[in-house]
Symmetry: C2
Subunit: 82 residues, 2 copies
């Protein structure tokens, strides 16, 4: 599935589920997203489960979506290729 | 906050929020929980956010809580001390 705009607690967020073969691969992706987040100084919510990672981006300050969240989403997609 | 029993999608689960000073410390804890999960062959849902990690244990096979989930919760608490 691609990125979806969801609304949770009245805040619009970008969310995508990434699928993996097991827990270790999912956790590895979580760490890649974490490194990207630290580099950008912008932090998503990352739900790590067996076989999948759900990444959610939004901008805390404006309590919604900013252009930067879409950029971070695109960068998150690129992490999947390596 | 301590462990709470929550119900999500008709499945009872054990959930606790662990607080941290920043994103990196939260992600570090996520990895510790991940290592514990791999060792046990039993995998929780781990939500990593800036300053906090929410860990949720339940038993997929019985769609609910088993004694083992309470043991894993106690082991998760021990990870926080180091």
């Amino acid at each position: 599935p691609e990125w979806e705009i969801i609304e949770e607690n009245n805040i619009r967020r970008l969310q995508r589920i990434f699928k993996f073969g097991n827990f270790a691969e999912a956790l590895d992706f979580t760490n890649k997203v974490g490194a990207l987040a630290e580099e950008a100084g912008h932090h998503p919510a990352i739900l790590t489960e067996y076989g999948q990672v759900t990444v959610t981006w939004w901008s805390h300050k404006i309590k919604g979506l900013h252009k930067n969240d879409f950029i971070m989403a695109a960068k998150t997609d690129q992490l999947q290729q390596y």
